[in-house]
Symmetry: C3
Subunit: 294 residues, 3 copies
């Protein structure tokens, strides 16, 4: 069983994984099993949390290390690399800058392949841990929620998958972004085709009071033609204690981290701050995934 | 017990390791034991398969990491480095650009040293996994085989050790290469001194039908004065389904990988393709080695 | 319990760790536990010996890897990084170029933080393994010893902590250095305030015969305005068999390694050479620390 994207997973598949994550604890379930880590681009947290997850289950990892020092440098194809490495491991975690690489890889090997991010494509375990964090912190079912997603919605791969997954469960989604960073046309089309209720606004003030969840994303300086423009946008979409004054007491504030200026440090002390917990949730969610596929 | 080269191992030593490799499975044999990985130059597969091997046996590794960030940068001698690291591990795997480095290292430490490649020198676990792959896939004994070794035979460290090891078992070896990439004089002399039957040809066509094993090697672009010359040679020594038309059905095709153009992808689908299996055999062979020396 | 420096540890705390180190052996005490390694600057030995230590106790590590490829590059604060990583590990080992970073980090996380070197600050497990090596090799109690500390005493973080720790136990310390590399004013003040007996000399000849321990340190070429000056100093403070001619038979010679020219290779063969053993002692001492805090 491969984990390539959440789009192709059924609601039941997803809920089964989230349920498993909420009960899973340290064990010897994967004792003697080896997980291959193939990160064709760096992603420290994702790598570390997969590493921690398999070790919590008594298993271990073998790590390809950085691409600079690997056979990829000698002109080897992805297909060859994964066919070699499958001999060293019982499952492969693949991070690749090229969209579609994990699916391609999965066609060449017999061991399970887990997509740990493929360029502008998917990052299913991130989506799962986002859903998990929402679910663990709200009383309502996912379908009854109003989720605000704010920031860079154009380039933010994370939020596209999350929006589609939330849509699958019937949640109402409001996108909050400057016009230049709106959700791209193809994602909007996909959401509409899925019959999803969503709206788009430019400022959060009017809706913050009705949100169950506010998901802020990183706004990357390098997307802007000049620094002034960046600073203006970053300032307007920064979450501060003031932003949250009209929020409900139980609003769940999330962020995929690392943050730069998107959330003011003062917010960390509030009950809304769930982004560190969200990062930590990578471990039980990936434990559940590994326990299921390995 | 150190593993420095296969040249100094007896036939019985080698066969004992190959026999062990063919029966070894996951166990707790090395539980609590730590293998030190010292790669003074990168070699992803060798490192990963040693890593997988020790973990399959319940042991673990400590890895020096890249030389850039190590004490070597501060001017430390190899002798000092290994004398420090032996305190952290029960055996050392050493990859070094300088020929003879592993033997030198072994004189300074009490723990076993395994040579994982020393420049133009040896790479005994590669030779062992090559022999293992041959042995697992032919019905005849090694002494009755006709093995073709093709490609860059001048710089290919792998094939020199393999040729000498095959010679030790009495196999007949035919070298196939362009004149500019012939087996060097000193290797030929060594083979002659060992009383080995070998011949050299420039094209494979005449002999492919009589081969039990064809071992293709990587032809490195950087060995050629100009790209045109490289492309001409690479084209002539490329193994395709056509090359194999007159081959016996049970011809075993091997390659140390990574390949670039030396074997056409279409060959992967044939029964001749044993190069991925060969790479995978690094794990049981290294398990057998570790189980023996640690 | 955090391990930030030895200054704030009582004599009893220290002795308890040293006693534990002298009896600790491989076990499953940390089975299922994960140690997070956060090296914001490289330190191969310290990293490897922590890695070996936790694995000897049946635990495992997750490693942030190099800073170049981590979220730090994206502008993340240290506080955020450690708050994320604490979700992956049961304790954190932190190496950081900035003095005070480990203490800062410890204020943001609930798991124990172990300082593995913070710039010009402290490196408590190094100090502990130095003390351990002294203690294992002398018959007298620490308070009765005469310890010479020689070389670069201005920039050598290691020796400042060691001198203060020895002082705590009442040892007599003699510093041996050129005027340009004397112990800095603030360390001298601290020693005086602690009521410590110490003196400073420029040459070792007059005192070598009375020493129980001689601790040589690395003299770094880059501290000198020109190479000639470096060579002159390095030559005068180099320990050779001649230096040790008037030493007592049981003089314990130590060095934090890596050495360049500070100790002549011929000294390695003498009974005085304890620097490799000292490096190896990093493992039991760190095992004792981990066993205590995790």
């Amino acid at each position: 069983m491969d984990i390539i994207d959440t789009k192709s997973m059924s609601k039941d598949d997803i809920l089964r994984l989230l349920d498993r994550a909420s009960t899973i604890g340290p064990s010897d379930a994967l004792s003697g099993r080896v997980l291959g880590l193939l990160f064709f681009e760096p992603s420290t947290r994702t790598r570390m949390s997969f590493d921690a997850a398999v070790k919590r289950l008594g298993g271990d990892t073998v790590d390809m290390g950085s691409v600079d020092s690997s056979s990829v440098q000698k002109g080897e194809t992805l297909a060859d690399t994964v066919r070699v490495v499958e001999g060293y491991a019982d499952a492969l975690v693949l991070r690749h800058p090229r969209e579609g690489a994990p699916r391609l890889a999965s066609q060449f090997v017999d061991v399970p392949v887990i997509n740990a991010g493929d360029g502008a494509g998917h990052h299913p375990t991130q989506t799962l841990l986002d859903l998990y964090t929402v679910r663990e912190n709200v009383d309502a079912s996912l379908g009854d929620l109003h989720v605000g997603i704010m920031g860079d919605l154009k380039y933010g791969r994370t939020v596209h998958s999350l929006a589609l997954a939330l849509a699958k469960f019937g949640a109402r989604v409001t996108f909050v972004s400057p016009p230049s960073l709106r959700v791209p046309e193809n994602v909007r089309t996909e959401l509409e085709r899925a019959g999803v209720e969503f709206d788009e606004v430019e400022v959060i003030d009017g809706i913050v009071g009705s949100l169950d969840v506010l998901y802020a994303t990183r706004i990357q300086k390098e997307r802007f033609p000049d620094e002034k423009e960046y600073e203006k946008v970053a300032g307007e979409y920064r979450v501060t204690t003031e932003t949250l004054e009209s929020a409900r007491d139980d609003l769940v504030l999330m962020h995929p981290l690392p943050r730069v200026d998107e959330i003011a440090p003062g917010v960390d002390e509030t009950e809304h701050a769930h982004y560190f917990e969200q990062a930590h949730n990578g471990v039980p969610v990936r434990m559940a995934v590994l326990d299921t596929v390995m």
